[in-house]
């Protein structure tokens, strides 16, 4: 089953395409990371999957073919927008009360015990909590809805390293215990390597790369050797990125793999997730920056303060 499936999906704001001809299938049970520069279309994709934004073109379904925004889909998806969206004037206890009454399914005791484990005082106003605690409160609300799919829009950006680790530990534990599938967007490429097992790279509203992280890392490698030989080799392998100096060249190739013979005089190195993502965002030839600059306003301002997707 796929938790998010899109076919030729597109979203147009005025004349600018925030997302275009986007076909993707995110498998169940994985943590899928959406990465790409600001304005690449990550939030647009998430908002359409949740049902907050209506596509201009193409189709999107969730959790094995459910229509986005349908009551059944809303019950099974929890969405946490950017910047730890909690009502700052409400106490933690009032947040719990409110969220319970806004949702058809809500596990109050699980939420209360999780907050107790984290040492978050129920009487305190959420606005007085640390950034990490606010994020944990929002995450606790989202998980208490017992979702099958958890969608997190840049949950880590405002958190310090310890809070990031605690936050991700909570997400990973929910995956282990309840089998929740997770889709999250993040700029913290180095940290994603440990947590993501499915990768989606977006650039300029288009899909650049998608697949299981382990497969992607195994298929790609960097070949280092004499620059004079680089063109011949770039033709032989399919090069994603070529970096060349006077004498030496590095080729990031997509059909390497450990079994493929390395040409004499060349060295092969494994490639990391961060290097791989950056190569796809700045492909061969260099200078071909994704034309996302004009689309950075594609984030829906109204969606930011929503806690989770509330039914109706």
């Amino acid at each position: 089953m796929n938790v998010i499936e899109t076919t030729g999906l597109g979203k147009c704001y005025g004349k600018a395409w925030a997302l275009r001809d986007f076909t993707l299938a995110v498998p169940e049970g994985s943590l899928a990371a959406l990465v790409g520069p600001n304005g690449a279309g990550k939030s647009t994709l998430m908002n359409m999957a949740v049902g907050l934004t209506v596509p201009t073109a193409g189709t999107v379904t969730v959790l094995g073919g459910m229509a986005t925004g349908s009551p059944a889909a809303l019950d099974d998806i929890a969405f946490m927008a950017q910047d730890a969206p909690v009502y700052k004037n409400l106490s933690v206890a009032d947040m719990l009360h409110l969220t319970r009454n806004l949702n058809r399914r809500f596990d109050s005791s699980a939420a209360a015990s999780r907050l107790a484990d984290l040492g978050i005082p129920l009487k305190k106003k959420t606005g007085k909590l640390s950034g990490g605690q606010q994020a944990q409160v929002a995450l606790t609300m989202a998980l208490a809805r017992r979702p099958r799919l958890l969608i997190l829009d840049e949950p880590l950006s405002a958190l310090d390293p310890l809070a990031r680790q605690d936050f991700m530990a909570t997400v990973m534990t929910a995956m282990t215990d309840d089998g929740v599938s997770v889709v999250l967007s993040s700029h913290a490429l180095a940290e994603l390597e440990r947590v993501a097992d499915y990768l989606v790279v977006l650039g300029g509203g288009e899909l650049r790369l998608a697949g299981e992280v382990d497969d992607l890392l195994a298929e790609h490698q960097v070949l280092t050797g004499p620059a004079a030989d680089a063109d011949r080799l770039a033709g032989q392998f399919s090069a994603v990125q070529v970096k060349r100096a006077g004498a030496q060249a590095h080729l990031l190739v997509s059909d390497g793999g450990p079994d493929r013979a390395v040409p004499p005089g060349w060295e092969s190195h494994p490639v990391g997730l961060e290097e791989l993502v950056l190569a796809y965002l700045r492909p061969a030839g260099g200078g071909a920056r994704p034309a996302g600059g004009g689309m950075s306003s594609a984030v829906l301002p109204g969606s930011r303060t929503e806690l989770t997707e509330v039914s109706k």
């Binding site: 049970g29 994985s30 943590l31 680790q165 605690d166 991700m168 530990a169 990973m172 534990t173 995956m175 282990t176 215990d177 180095a190 390597e193 440990r194 947590v195 993501a196 097992d197 382990d214 890392l217 195994a218 190195h269 494994p270 990391g272």
Partner: protein, 159 residues
């Protein structure tokens, strides 16, 4: 946050700069622990939930590592309990290991006195090691020495 270490004799750690995929690091650490005798048949591997919480990694990564160990015949899952060590990788006894260690120390001292520094020794050792096993593989006409699954009884001479 305190971490319940469970009943396993080992604990995993990750080296983000190694370039080795995370699941493979876990597999290698179990194999390493088996070679050095930290793990014996019957021992429990760390519970998936504990590894996930301790290292903040994806549970599928841990499951993939344990599956790999099962395929290699080194571990087996028991439903509802966890994953347990089934076979051993230690190919020689502890006294034998001690003897080899001493003779290697002698060689290292000699190499160092001759003027090789640590990097030089590593480079030389790696290169000789590779040639040695390449030569043996060719002579025997069979591939994959020492990499396949090692059952309890089969022992390949190492020295």
């Amino acid at each position: 946050m305190t971490i319940d270490k469970g009943d396993s004799p080992i604990e995993f750690r990750l080296d983000p700069s190694s370039g080795v995929p995370t699941y493979l690091q876990l597999v290698q650490q179990v194999e390493h622990a088996l070679r050095l005798g930290y793990l014996k048949p019957g021992d429990q591997l760390p519970k998936v939930r504990d590894v996930v919480a301790a290292l903040t990694i994806n549970p599928n990564t841990v499951l993939k590592a344990y599956k790999e160990l099962e395929i290699k015949g080194l571990a087996a899952g028991r439903p509802g309990q966890g994953t347990f060590v089934q076979a051993t990788l230690s190919q020689i006894t502890l006294p034998e290991l001690g003897g080899l260690r001493r003779s290697m120390l002698g060689w290292l001292t000699e190499a160092n006195e001759t003027g090789l520094d640590e990097d030089g020794i590593v480079a030389l050792f790696t290169s000789v090691l590779r040639d040695f096993f390449k030569g043996r593989q060719g002579a025997r006409g069979q591939g994959g020495t020492g990499r396949g699954p090692v059952g309890g009884n089969e022992t390949e001479g190492v020295a």
